[in-house]
Amino acid sequence: MDFRPTDQQRMLAAVARDFLDKRWPLAVAQDVARDGRGLPNDVWRELAALGWAGLRVPGDLGGSEASLLDVVLLAEEMGRAAFPARYVTSAVVATAIIAAGTSAQRQRVLPAMSAGDRFATLALAEPDGSGPDGIALTAEVGRTLDGVKRFVLDADAADHVIVAARGGGGVTLVLVDARHPGVGVSSTTTMAGDRLFEVTFAGVPVRADDVIGPAGGGRAILDEALAHGAVARAAEIVGTAQRILDLTVEHAKVRVQSGRPIGAFQAIQHACADLLRDVETARGLVYHAAWRVDAGRDAATAIAMASAYAGTRGLAVARRAHQIFGAMGYSAEHPLHLLHKRIHAASVESDRAAHLDTIARAIGLA
């Protein structure tokens, strides 16, 4: 039993804090979310230069083969900085899927992704929002991909789109060149400033070379990648909630009303104590889930718990912080609303109902 990160992990987190404080202060995060321009290329490249884009890439392909716990510590810092969702989508989820591909696929994509020259996104959700259990778009080797996906992150800037389709009697994962002329994108707006797109596929050929894993046998690859992504997103929530807590406590110490700092009032003190509880207990579940993955233990329940709990508690933290900040937190200028919306976006991405059912089965409910 040990709760100390390694020196290397501490270094990773410290570098991340430093980098993000400089390159991604909350004011920048707010600007970017407001104007909808998305993550600048230079920031992505700098981040890759720090080794983060390749954190989960095998060593022989330009990555550092880091543990999921390393990712979690980094993702906490990203959450703290209200950093966009692309990191998890590309460097955790897409990377995990591609790493399950053939040697040629890995060679073709992962070194460039590690270097920050390219990034990949995931086309999973159907227009009605269905996830892995409701995949409708079909893909058969030798035929073409024709149809629509929604909720595809940063599709306009991505180099690769991993398409989760129905085919081969199961789920078929297709690695699509995002710049293929048969791929069209149209954006929509989101609360948290994430850039989500509808992607249409028209006559995009599905070659055997483009299929990751066995045709019809992609579900296990997809599920594992999504599970790792869920842990990383939960870690982001923890980091964001911690940032809210820090800002709230600072506010409670300096904001004076009726002659004393509001942090001296019992109602505020007790609310702040609950925020701390929520942040610390959520962090425990997230670290535990990552540790189980890294240790090769069965992690499905732990991941479901971490994801469901971080989402619920993270939102509770954000909502209660609004009450403590009062009117100023209602203003777009104040960072609270962005932090709140980022927690919301991360929690929405995970399917809470599915997680709770995983847990229900794990505790023995028939």
Binding site: T188, T190, F325, A327, H344
Partner: protein, 403 residues
């Protein structure tokens, strides 16, 4: 005299009249000139207000001496309820009611003569200049000052969180006119024309991306002497006197407005499948919506009771404070569950074309964050309930607050 929840024949007939009028004049056809804060009041629409005025509905409960029709108290309640259920943009209405009530109760002859007819026509709307950057829940910490200059008053100060100030005709501005024995002495209320020289009204972009509140800088703003509203130096006391009534009208429509949101969620649950079955068949969804519907009904009945007290002039001590906390916290739960019910679509912005129910839930959810703060934080109001409703001892140190 006996317990009776029926509104009575007159009010029910009037409700039918309002519904028929709304059917003939669909609220969505009126232009919107200010955002909906999600209080359930609908957005700010001067044309809609004028259409209501044309029906005589703004002044219908006023005394005949002021040009009103002396209709029963309950008609106003019925009007608000029907407007809220229809999602009508009646935002400016309660501000007009408040201003008109204050002018009739303690305004000068000139204020009554000049403003009441304009209010009745839907031509004059109002904002409140109460809060200041250093005076939130502790309103008495305000620093805006007004001094006499001949027959006029000259005001200097900085107000904040004034709803719709940029698109309304007049502000009700409270300012210090004297140093009194206590902090609550020496404050006075003024009606200030929004177009007065020296006024600067800056929009505050809210967390929804829209503008609802404004910051108002008053730099030597001149106000005619008879635009003092009420008694000189007694402005705070008089404000407190009307507080319960104002707070009642400020939240009365929350129950029907929430019922409208709930109906949207029910429609969504009926029409949406998850894992092959409609959401409406999920026991968790059914129970949660049923519980929320029950809370909304409890809220509706509680506000009817306060309404009855006001109508019968039974003194209210804590009831509007309790009702406001209950209303706003219920609204937050409705909004939060609404987002949960939208699943992946909850991440979309209210203006996203993919957003279910026209993005209404996202917008509503975000605005609920402000409801438990504006017009008295839930912390301040719970203390009010405890000390005035239950007579628990006062702390003597002020109360904790969000702000």
């Amino acid at each position: 005299m006996s317990i009776d929840f029926a509104l009575g024949a007159e009010a029910e007939a009037f409700a039918a009249e309002v519904r028929a009028w709304l059917a003939a004049n669909p609220p969505e056809r009126f232009p919107i000139d200010g955002m909906d804060a999600g209080y359930g009041s609908g957005a700010h629409s001067r044309p809609f207000l004028q259409a209501l005025a044309a029906q005589g509905w703004i002044s219908m409960t006023w005394p005949r001496a002021f040009g009103g029709a002396e209709r029963a108290f309950w008609t106003k309640l019925v009007l608000l309820e029907e407007l809220a259920l229809a999602g009508a943009p009646f935002g400016p209405l309660t501000g007009c009611d408040q201003a008109a009530d204050a002018i009739m109760a303690r305004g000068s002859e000139r204020l009554a003569r000049e403003l009441l007819p304009r209010i009745a026509r839907g031509d004059a709307t109002f904002w409140q200049g109460f809060s200041e950057p250093g005076a939130g829940s502790d309103l008495l910490g305000l620093t805006t000052e007004a001094r006499r200059d001949g027959d006029d008053w000259v005001i200097r100060g900085h107000k904040i969180w004034s709803s719709h100030a940029g698109i309304s005709s007049y502000g009700l501005v409270i300012a210090r006119t004297a140093r009194g024995a206590s902090r609550s002495d020496g404050l006075s209320m003024f009606v200030v024309d929004s177009t007065s020289p020296g006024m600067e009204i800056r929009p505050i972009v809210s967390l929804t991306g829209g503008v609802y509140h404004y910051e108002v800088f008053l730099d030597e703003v001149r106000v005619p002497g008879d635009f003092l509203l009420g008694t000189e130096h007694q402005g705070f006391r008089e404000l407190l006197q009307s507080l319960d009534t104002d707070r009642f009208w400020g939240r009365f429509y929350k129950a029907p407005a929430l019922r409208r949101v709930l109906d949207q969620l029910v429609r969504h649950a009926n029409a949406t499948s998850r894992g092959g079955a409609p959401l409406s068949r999920d026991a968790y969804v059914r129970r949660t919506l049923a519980e929320l519907a029950t809370d909304i009904e409890a809220l509706r009945l509680y506000f009817y009771r306060i309404g009855w007290m006001l109508a019968e002039q039974v003194p209210t001590r804590y009831e509007t404070a309790l009702g406001k906390v209950f209303a706003d916290e219920t609204g937050q739960r409705v909004g939060a569950f609404g987002l949960e019910l939208l699943g992946p679509h909850a991440a979309l912005a209210p203006d996203s074309p993919w957003a279910p129910l026209g993005g209404a839930i996202q917008h509503f959810y975000l605005t609920t964050m402000g409801h438990t703060i504006a017009g008295g934080t839930s912390e301040v109001l719970r203390t009010t309930v405890a000390t005035r409703g239950l007579e628990l001892p006062r702390d003597g140190r002020g109360v904790a607050r969000g702000a």
